[in-house]
Homo-oligomer: 366 residues x 2
């Protein structure tokens, strides 16, 4: 592998909201801005994870106005002009297009890695190795995605079915993509796991800016028209005005279904051992944090006294003493104004709580 | 029944500490001073329960200095001089003796009901009826105790085995007492329940002041000597000085084992349907509070959002929102500086927590 990364950029997608980590995550404090694992926020860890691969000036962040200020405080090493502010959320396809357009303006040879801002990866060395391998494949005009080798029949992720191997002399196995599949039922998930040729869709993509824009032109001509209009004024005094004007009519679409599904030259690098998690629910923290001998996890330096307690996570946002007696397989999240006690295998229902709070206009808890 | 209650006094025993309702009950805020059930504290309910049976001037409270001030605030209707301050806790036998001595000084014909300050009784009419019946029996020099007809094989209470019926023309069934039994094992408790002739020891006693003092003289001559010395200065300027001096050498003993076990003329009135509880653990609140259709109880007007939650008690001391998902048979106690989450059937282990906190000198939580 002889990667030349001098035209490689990282684009961190960081504008999301999300409700699955309530009561810690709130409207004003979305998941990526929280120190869920250790002292750093997920956003900070995402930036730090790129050290040694990209210099700060080649790391971009796409986010929304409400979050930009906090992000600049959390990652002061990134140049101000590398924050792309989306006037309003329009789905990942449009974000990808906007970033590709902006990067091509800056560097006609730009290649880019699209990276979520709120995921966890334990094995950073392997992550770097895989990204380099992916850039090699992207250099040959592939739209590349990192697949995560499943470790359980998860119904929380989309799946990618791999096809034939791509013979390009790459050091890491590369496959064409047969299909992208939506989150499956539990039975289907078990079949996919057994099949051996399915990966989880990690939301990490690597491609040449040129290549993805060509694909957008082919499959989403409306979005490309918008990007052309925005691009015409990009870097001029009318940049913001035009962006805001055009952006409001852009159709909301995801990169998976808007672009990847029908693209022809798509490749997947299936990655095992990355220690990846999308930190998509409280129970996912059991995968990324180290439990004690009883399977318990006390995060955030909470004072937890555990009697006859097993496989229980206590996330303490306040400095109270938390005592559990006879508690198994539970998640306890103790914040200033709300307390969540949730059976681990039902932590996906946290979003129902948020729906309930919205419906009953309990704004202060949102 | 033609009870003459003009010489009848109630003596509320209110000096106890106790750790089984931590983290709500603390050193400075023992159980009887807490509003565990509804708006009133258990002490206030105990006083109120006597309305219509005893005028305030015939209700005495025996307590310790640290609690007296708060009690006077909670029950301002009781005359100041009706608070007997124990210089230090010396067990129920000594308290009973002190109260009997003081009452006999006040009224040589005094009869007295000894009543714990921290129990719950749902059926107040029946309670009045039983007390009147008990005073009738006590008038004939019996040491009377109210037994509680068991509703389950509890290991948390002592038991009283009844003997032959007492034929005195009483309207309510009265039995001699065969034995007092300590808290049994679970297997023994089941046998006692099946036997049909065992009651729970409620700690409620009714007798003539004269009669109990005679029994103390017979069985605890040391205590009686002390009471005689205290009595000699009672009502004089040396009352407090003498009490403090003598009290410190009084042997700690309970009324059950120090007096009742070996007394000859002991009677029990077994009471069913009283809706009695000693509120001796968090799980006991399930017996005295009314759960919703899922068996959940949200006390203290706590804001509780319950999803897939059953038979769970949430006691909110703060004004936070408490959300439970997939939680069964649990007790949640949410106070300012400590949070307890405890499987209902293990709530007796709360005292182990308090032991642990003492051992590790975490004074602020005690």
């Amino acid at each position: 592998m002889n990667s030349d990364l001098s035209h490689a950029y990282a684009v961190i997608m960081a504008g999301g909201g999300g409700t699955r980590l309530w009561p810690l995550s709130r409207r004003e404090k979305p998941k990526q801005l929280l120190p869920l694992i250790g002292q750093e926020t997920l956003f900070q860890s995402t930036v730090k994870r790129l050290e040694g691969l990209f210099p700060p000036e080649r790391i971009l962040v796409v986010t929304v106005e409400e979050q930009a200020h906090e992000m600049k405080e959390q990652a002061p090493e990134l140049p101000d002009e590398n924050y792309l502010i989306e006037p309003a959320p329009r789905g990942t396809a449009s974000v990808v297009g906007l970033a590709a357009m902006a990067l091509r303006k800056r560097d006609p040879l730009a290649t880019m890695a699209i990276l979520p801002s709120d995921h966890f990866i334990r094995n950073v060395d392997l992550f770097h190795y895989l990204l380099k391998a992916a850039f090699d494949v992207a250099d040959n005009d592939y739209l590349v995605t990192l697949g995560i080798t499943p470790t359980m029949p998860s119904t929380a992720y989309g799946y990618i079915q791999q096809g034939a191997g791509v013979d390009g002399g790459y050091k890491y196995p590369v496959y064409t993509v047969k299909t992208f599949k939506e989150k499956p039922s539990e039975e289907t998930a078990r079949q996919l796991l057994r099949s051996g040729d399915h990966s989880w869709n990690s939301g990490m993509f690597i491609w040449r800016a040129d290549a993805i824009l060509a694909e957008i032109r082919k499959q989403m001509p409306g979005l490309m028209d918008a990007l052309d209009q925005i691009g015409a004024d990009w870097g001029t005094s009318k940049q913001l005005e035009t962006l805001v004007k055009i952006w409001k009519d852009v159709k909301i679409e995801t990169v998976d279904y808007g672009i990847m599904e029908k693209a022809e030259k798509v490749a997947v690098l299936p990655a095992g051992g990355l220690g990846w998690s999308d930190v998509g629910s409280w129970s996912s923290l059991f995968e990324v944090l180290l439990p004690d001998m009883s399977g318990n996890i006390a995060t955030n330096a909470v004072s937890h006294l555990a009697l006859e307690t097993n496989n229980t996570l206590v996330y303490g946002g306040s400095d109270r003493l938390v005592v559990t007696i006879g508690v198994d397989d539970m998640v306890v999240v103790d914040t200033g104004d709300a307390l969540l006690i949730c059976k681990s295998d039902q932590s996906q229902k946290v979003k129902d709580v948020v729906e309930h709070l919205k419906k009953h206009r309990q704004e202060k808890y949102l």
